[in-house]
């Protein structure tokens, strides 16, 4: 039942808003739909907490601790983002950057995107998972090019081509998976694509096929995760799209893509029984962290800056998943959560900052504390949180990841140390003058919608000091399942 609402509401909302998304009440409608989705998500999580993992609709949908917390997270961030975009988009329209039709497109596509995210998370069918991922690309690509500026078109085009190709490779991987599975499970029905079934027989699947399949899947979904060197679409798309879109891209899409990768990894590792998949993930993760850290030093555009920081953090998470083991997986899941919360909060603030100063260039943004203290402190705290400063939650996960790495893979720790140090220096040296110092800009009338920001940040703060038992329980179960 909750499932129906969870999937139906965004879909219906998308359809409705596609028809009349240019009305005055459209933003509120979006907010309502997202709120409903969020509530449904909570209900679903409550159900799962109550009576454990469940398969529904002849096994097409599968809800276990791993995806249910991502579902809740996705729904929550979607909700807060809609809250934020309500004000933000009004201002954009008020500045004459967007026409009503564009707003209509925005609202409906936003809902559609939420739908695809949830579908990808909830489905038990690797094929449907693929479809949902592709649909996610399709629904966001028009959002990225929403402003129709040359830059945004280019960004969208790159996003589209690169992710399209990536996704195509993932499809090939899926086919290979099926190819390997149907010999075990038979081709009748679609059990050969159902993750649960595959998981059941994973140790009987063909090793060579699966490892090749995994390579395709990793490169495919990895492109969407933004692992270096497949990441090139990410900064452009984040920088050129409207801020709410950047927020959900960074906060949700990357997570879901990583979720897909991990689901595949579970299957493959079960079959291959070798370090290989883990090693690949670690390699990709480490590479992404390093590359992103050094890219950070070159940024002039604030949204690009934080896009690269997303790459860095996805790298950390991937690295952690690659290391495996209960602690590392636990840390990785925690890091996914706090990263998406923090990063979306940062993008909210950045959006307001850019609106207040009228530019996205770092040189242009100065003295936010003077301009608007709340925005300034929001940006400062968010940045410190994302840089892994206690007592925020990001530190908790980095703590576990680093210590694990120090014991299990000491060779990696100098690189991590280097990368984290470089990233810290790069990001902070850019954010500090934006928050502090003098400014020449004049205060703009409209008040910022900072409720979402501080909601996210306080959640992250809480996670740094105290992790609710049920959440910890999910993490543990999920980690156990990931292995």
């Amino acid at each position: 039942m909750e499932l129906l609402i969870l999937l139906g509401l965004p879909l219906g909302g998308a359809a409705l808003l596609a028809l009349c998304g240019d009305r005055r009440w459209a933003p509120e409608a979006t907010v309502l739909a997202s709120l409903g989705t969020f509530l449904a998500g909570c209900a679903l999580t409550a159900r799962v907490i109550a009576d454990g993992p469940q398969l529904v609709w002849n096994e097409q949908f599968f809800i276990d601790p791993f995806n249910v917390f991502l579902v809740a997270l996705t729904a929550f961030v979607g909700f807060t983002t809609s809250l934020f975009s309500r004000t933000y988009m009004r201002v954009e329209a008020h500045h004459g950057k967007l026409s009503p039709q564009r707003l209509r497109l925005y609202h409906s596509m936003f809902q559609l995107f939420m739908f695809t995210m949830l579908l990808a998370l909830l489905t038990n069918n690797m094929g449907i998972l693929w479809v949902a991922m592709e649909a996610a690309t399709l629904s966001t690509v028009l959002l990225v090019s929403l402003y129709r500026t040359p830059a945004s078109l280019e960004a969208a085009w790159k996003y589209f081509i690169l992710c399209g190709v990536g996704i195509a490779l993932a499809l090939f991987g899926t086919i290979l998976l099926y190819f390997a599975a149907e010999k075990v499970l038979g081709s009748e029905g679609m059990s050969a694509l159902l993750w649960t079934h595959l998981n059941g027989v994973k140790d009987r699947l063909e090793v060579t096929v699966l490892s090749i399949a995994f390579v395709f899947l990793l490169v495919g979904y990895g492109t969407k995760v933004g692992l270096a060197p497949l990441h090139n679409w990410l900064p452009d798309a984040h920088a050129e799209g409207p801020t709410p879109v950047s927020a959900v891209l960074s906060g949700l899409l990357l997570n879901v893509a990583l979720y897909a990768v991990v689901r595949c990894k579970v299957l493959v590792e079960g079959s291959v029984r070798s370090e290989l998949p883990g090693r690949m993930l670690m390699g990709f993760g480490l590479g992404s962290v390093l590359v992103a850290a050094f890219f950070l030093w070159r940024q002039k555009d604030i949204k690009r800056l934080f896009a690269y920081s997303s790459i860095e953090h996805m790298g950390i998470v991937t690295f952690a998943f690659g290391m495996g083991g209960p602690v590392a997986d636990f840390a990785a899941l925690l890091h996914m959560t706090v990263h998406s919360l923090t990063k979306s909060a940062i993008f909210f603030v950045v959006g307001h900052a850019a609106q207040k100063t009228g530019t996205q260039l770092i040189e242009g943004i100065r003295g936010l504390l003077v301009l608007s203290p709340t925005v300034g402190w929001g940006l400062m705290l968010g940045t410190l949180a994302i840089l892994g400063m206690p007592p925020f939650g990001v530190f908790a996960s980095e703590f576990l990841i680093l210590t694990t790495a120090m014991r299990d893979h000491p060779w990696a720790t100098p690189l991590l140390l280097l990368a984290l140090g470089v990233a810290f220096g790069a990001v902070f040296s850019r954010v500090q003058p934006m928050v502090f110092g003098e400014t020449t800009a004049t205060r703009l009338p409209h008040p910022p919608a900072l409720l979402p920001v501080f909601a996210h940040l306080s959640l992250v703060l809480m996670l740094g000091l105290w992790i609710p038992p049920f959440l910890a329980q999910w993490y543990r179960l999920a980690a156990a399942m990931i292995g």
């Binding site: 399709l138 085009w157 589209f160 399209g164 195509a168 499809l171």
Partner: protein, 224 residues
């Protein structure tokens, strides 16, 4: 060995033929300069795909494959049509593009094909189907279209490369594994169509922004 070939059932031979044709076509696309004929080649490839699917469906008597073939044929008919319309609308009929030194591309392509075969060899050993060896060809087609996307400088040809890649995937799906479950196929197809539609939209936006579809205009976002 002729007798060995003879021992293979006709359907399989037909499929092998189709596979060979697809491979040939993708090589041709790799080398083709003119957009219009590129589209035709793409259509031909699609047709071959439909053919092979039909054969598979007939020979194995899996009826949903007929449906799948029909579905695929939409793509074969519709997409080239749309592309032609686009080309005419954007008046690109006589548009050609300079490729990087075709012989080199060909050689790289050959290397890719060999690589794909080598890769697929162990896999096809495991396959239960008669048409197992087509997997290698499918992979080759995918990689070749990938290569084509890399070498092209025009938005449209890049898109065609993308679609050709999808062809290769479908070919793998149908011929190597006798088709994925229906839902999935439909979903995939839907995505492809929507994708093509969005591509169309993009062409117009890009066109109106840059007065051409040269990708060289789309290189402003970079680290400098």
């Amino acid at each position: 060995m002729p007798d060995a070939t003879a021992s293979v059932p006709l359907s399989a031979q037909l499929i092998h033929l189709a596979a060979a044709v697809m491979l040939l076509l993708s090589f041709a696309m790799l080398a083709q300069r003119r957009l219009v004929s590129l589209v035709n080649l793409f259509a031909a490839q699609g047709a071959t795909l439909v053919g092979s699917t039909l054969v598979v469906a007939y020979s194995t008597g899996q009826h949903e494959l007929y449906l799948s073939a029909a579905v695929t044929s939409i793509k074969v008919v519709l997409l080239p049509y749309v592309l032609h319309r686009l080309i005419r609308r954007l008046s690109l009929q006589w548009d050609t593009e300079t490729l990087v030194n075709i012989p080199t591309t060909m050689l790289i392509g050959l290397g890719v094909v060999i690589f794909a075969f080598g890769l697929a060899q162990p896999l096809s050993e495991l396959a239960s189907t008669v048409t197992r060896s087509t997997l290698g060809i499918a992979m080759a087609v995918v990689l070749l279209s990938f290569l084509m996307m890399i070498t092209r400088r025009k938005a449209i040809s890049q898109v065609i490369g993308f679609l050709a890649m999808e062809n290769g995937l479908f070919f793998a799906a149908t011929s190597a594994t006798y088709g994925m479950p229906m839902v999935v196929e439909l979903g995939i197809l839907l995505d492809v169509l929507v994708g093509a539609f969005i591509f169309g939209i993009f062409f117009f936006h890009i066109r109106e922004q840059f007065e051409s579809l040269e990708l060289s205009h789309l290189e402003s976002l970079k680290e400098d």
